[in-house]
Amino acid sequence: MKTFKIGGVHPEENKLASNSAIEVLPIPQKVCIPITQHLGAPSTLVVEKGGIVKVGQLLAKADAFICANVHSSVSGKILKIDTVTDTSGYRKTSIFIDVEGDEWEESIDKSQNIVKEIKLSKEEIIAKIKDMGIVGLGGATFPTHVKLMVPQGKKADVLIINGVECEPYLTSDHRVMLEKAEEMLVGVSILMKGLGVEKAMIGIENNKTDAISHLHNIASGFKGIEVHALKVKYPQGAEKQLIKALIHREVPAGKLPIEVGCVVSNAGTAFAVYEAIQKNKPLFERVVTVTGKSVKKPSNFMVRMGVTVNELIEKAGGLPEDTGKVISGGPMMGKSLNSLEVPVVKGTSGILIMTQKESKRVEIQNCIRCGKCITVCPMGLEPYLLAQVAENANFETAENERVMDCIECGSCHYTCPSGRPLLDYLRVGKNKVGQIIRNRANN
């Protein structure tokens, strides 16, 4: 079975919510929508306090190149434009809306029938994806229309769809692939046309055999789409590892996948592209998994953007007594929340509730030079060395030893028998070296 050759770990899968069908949540009473929910430049506000909005109405415009539009997920009156704490505790400008009814923009097609015919041209597809505010739903939230714009001198020959979902606990992509398979595949065809390629490969980890066989059957009705099973190994879902496993090409250090002729997009994003192009529906809701060993009802909810994490947890049975941490994302790369009043944004793939026992950090001891971290690093780096030089502020060595190639997957940190905070120091190193490189470029 296909897999990536270097490194990787096997954390417990704990896919507790994989059999829970997507549940559409009732309309919330109020929402708080941050105006920047993507990687890149912040968006510009186009509405003001007191304004009446409809579902799907534009709230913030993309003014820079790497930027995305933000649309309203509800209909109602704008209560205020204020700041709200995001997942890191820092405050971001957001639009607070008091919800009234559920009135959608007239242009949106609410019907459920699947539209297979793609009427738009390549350029029109890219423009419409930009208009509808589609960003990568895998978690990185990179604006999709920018990904499809191949730079001069480069050419793409294959589109890769990431249905891997290698993070333990998360199941939103799994459910989308099972329940919205045909729509997703139309979305893949649209992306293929937008990118200008004839071939698409969907990579799915082998712990989702039902999704693999289901998609395989439906893909036979589509031209150029192949479904591939991948060996279950973390971080198979990482871009570079996925490309290596599927098409055996290695993305050069510091460069993007387009360098080797491909573009990677998440399965959930493909579904969002279908809804955007065929149904004129902007991105204002997404599937979020709420899970954890102590959660009463591990579920996959279709959530409107702007609903607070607190409300989601209530719908999944309430916050358990012995909760230690609440994580936005998965256990390997997710972010621990310090407030439950943060809103769900485009990048929220799941909410994981960890018990006190699970959240306890191991006691930190000395490095015993066992080399396990080197064995598991999927990028072929030496985490023990990089962490040590970053801790000692020796950033010149950190740069020479390729700390910037680290994808922050956490495999080294997970494996270390001495419980050393490797990922933490790697992040310090990447942060500082990144600054040094930017200063060098500016001078």
């Binding site: 704490t85 505790g89 820092y90 405050r91 407030s339 801790e391 905070p421 992040r427």
Partner: protein, 287 residues
């Protein structure tokens, strides 16, 4: 025997002489002409090579001084004003004394004032914590208390107080070299004038959020109300971005702003305690 002796003397003597001539010309060609003043100035410097001046060592600093011809922007924190007095005659200029300065920590978000709302359990360095999240108290400008400033100080002049969780600067040991200022990822520490008897007044907050938001996270935050600006008769305080700032060159240490501040955000250090206001006695009108 005599012949051997004479021949050996002539042979070795001529080799020596030729070498001496070659060496002389080479020495002349590759001679480095150095201003003799550099040696004189270097002599007066402390010789600790601490880097507090920002140069690679005392010799390097001496070269910079002689090249500039003055010590206007060159400061040796260890030598201080006595050094300036000694170096001035060598350069042939008049000594201009600099006001003694000290590092000031502009945050009072102690464990009591800014209660912990989340628990941080990761790498014990402020740089990392700052890039990860706003802080345990929720204030995105507040001190994280993990001690990057302590590690950076070469003069052992700063330590983290166990009870408050905030850094404390030693009046005697701090030489205002600026290492802690650079080490703090939130630019909480500032070099300010030391004044007589080590007294100083400063706004102990750099939070630029709206007053209500700032106060939610910390009891003694500056809420940008502007009362201090109004009460200062020396126009030493400016209010910008919901934050007050005291200009230490204009401040006369009168302490009026300290009393006026409703959140006690302005700190005064090393002042004697205030005398309580005299009770007003009722006047008895003699009939």
């Amino acid at each position: 025997m005599n012949q051997v002796l004479i021949y050996s003397i002539i042979a070795l003597g001529s080799i020596g002489a030729v070498s001496a001539i070659i060496l002389y010309f080479v020495a002349q060609k590759f001679k480095v002409i150095e201003d003799p003043k550099i040696d004189e100035v270097a002599d007066k410097l402390p010789g600790a090579n601490c880097g507090g001046c920002g140069f690679a060592g005392c010799r390097n600093f001496a070269e910079a001084i002689v090249k500039a011809g003055n010590m206007d922007n060159l400061n040796c924190p260890v030598g201080g004003n006595s050094l300036i007095k000694e170096v001035a005659p060598i350069l042939g200029i008049v000594a201009v004394e600099k006001d003694p300065q000290i590092a000031v920590v502009r945050c009072s978000g102690s464990k009591a004032n800014a209660p912990q709302k989340a628990e941080y359990d990761s790498a014990s360095t402020c740089v990392f914590a700052h890039s990860l999240f706003a802080g345990e108290s929720g204030c995105p400008h507040g001190c994280l208390g993990l001690g990057d400033c302590v590690v950076s100080c070469k003069f052992d002049a700063i330590y983290i107080d166990e009870i408050t969780g905030l850094p404390v600067v030693s009046n005697e040991k701090c030489v205002a070299c600026g290492a802690c200022v650079k080490a703090c990822p939130r630019t909480i520490i500032e070099i300010r004038n030391k004044n007589k008897k080590d007294r100083r007044i400063f706004v102990s907050c750099i939070n630029q959020e709206k007053g209500a938001v700032a106060k939610k996270n910390c009891e003694v935050a500056c809420i940008g109300c502007g009362k201090c600006v109004k009460v200062c008769s020396f126009e030493a305080i400016i209010l910008k971005n919901n934050l007050a700032y005291i200009d230490y060159t204009k401040c006369t240490l009168c302490r009026k702003c300290v009393e006026e501040c409703p959140t006690h955000a302005i700190n005064e250090l090393n002042f004697p305690p205030r005398k309580p206001k005299a009770e007003k006695t009722e006047s008895v009108i003699a009939e």
